[in-house]
């Protein structure tokens, strides 16, 4: 029998004796509890760690990158490091540089992309669209007064009584984003895996 086996046996014996002693003396006074020591070795085994980044959080398209907190696990004790797992996976929202507001109203407060990411929620921005119509549609309601945000274009087809027209206007578009943290585009580019990107 090796010294290691003898040591393990001794410890097992100590455990058995201890439990008997505990029962006899009533030493058991608390519910079982366990505290795990986070070791650097254990953390290092997961190389797909990413930190929240207050800077360098825009990609080459100028989009702010927001990592959905519900799609990753926290790692370490700082509260700013997240584990993307093996293989790396997570949900990312790429927020374009727009004027987002908290309500579909030009008087509503403008909100930054960073705040949208940190708080999550529903936001609005003005989107543009262009609609056109043919002669048939010009008759009736299509030629009404335009709204403040609309521009109407009309014209005539040469040599004909037909008209064409179009209207370019802006409308409120609603977006929803989950609470997350800003992350670095450079750091993300080093992971290969399954990271889902939602473009806002």
């Amino acid at each position: 029998m090796s010294s290691k086996d003898r040591t393990d046996q001794k410890e097992t014996k100590r455990g058995t004796n201890y439990s008997r002693r505990s029962l006899l003396t009533g030493a058991v006074r608390a519910m079982p509890a366990v505290l795990t020591l986070q070791s650097g070795a254990a953390l290092a085994r997961s190389s797909n760690l990413i930190s929240a980044s207050p800077r360098d959080h825009k990609d080459r398209y100028g989009r702010t990158l927001c990592l959905d907190l519900r799609s990753v696990d926290p790692a370490g004790r700082s509260g700013r490091v997240y584990d993307l797992g093996h293989p790396a996976s997570g949900r990312l929202t790429a927020i374009r540089d727009r004027e987002f507001r908290v309500a579909p109203d030009d008087r509503a407060a403008v909100v930054s992309e960073a705040r949208m990411c940190h708080e999550g929620g529903t936001y609005y921005y003005r989107a543009r669209r262009y609609r056109h119509w043919s002669t048939q549609e010009i008759e009736g309601d299509a030629l009404q007064e335009t709204s403040d945000n609309a521009q109407q274009f009309t014209g005539a087809v040469s040599g004909s009584s037909d008209y064409w027209g179009g209207r370019r206007d802006r409308y409120w578009k609603r977006v929803q984003i989950r609470r997350g943290v800003l992350v670095s585009a450079t750091a993300l580019s080093s992971f290969s895996g399954n990271i889902t990107v939602t473009d806002l």
Partner: protein, 98 residues
């Protein structure tokens, strides 16, 4: 209406002794789990339970029965606590289901 059929209750047992290296320091039991390289600090009750589970696999209800008095003192649901504890031990690799 028919009643749902209950399957056999889950039972847990401790992992083989050679998987864990124990060191006892006063009333703290330090367990080094070799496969994961992680170290855990357990109290007397946990060590007692793990030793018992090595000899006899138990269900959460059976574990709860051993600590029911203590749980009652703290106003806790013993079965719920026992289930959560066993699942946590399983996550750590200290016990396994049979």
């Amino acid at each position: 209406m028919t009643q749902p059929v209950k399957g056999p209750a889950l039972r847990w047992r401790s992992v083989p002794a050679e998987t864990i290296r124990w060191v006892v320091w006063e009333d703290t039991h330090i367990a080094y789990h070799r496969p994961s390289g992680m170290t855990h600090f357990l109290n007397d009750s946990s060590r007692l339970l793990i030793d018992d589970l090595r000899n006899t696999p138990m269900t959460a209800e059976q574990v709860a029965a051993r600590f029911s008095d203590i749980a009652a003192e703290h106003g806790e649901d013993a079965v719920e606590e026992a289930t959560a504890l066993l699942e946590r031990f399983e996550e750590l690799g200290i016990v396994e289901q049979v």
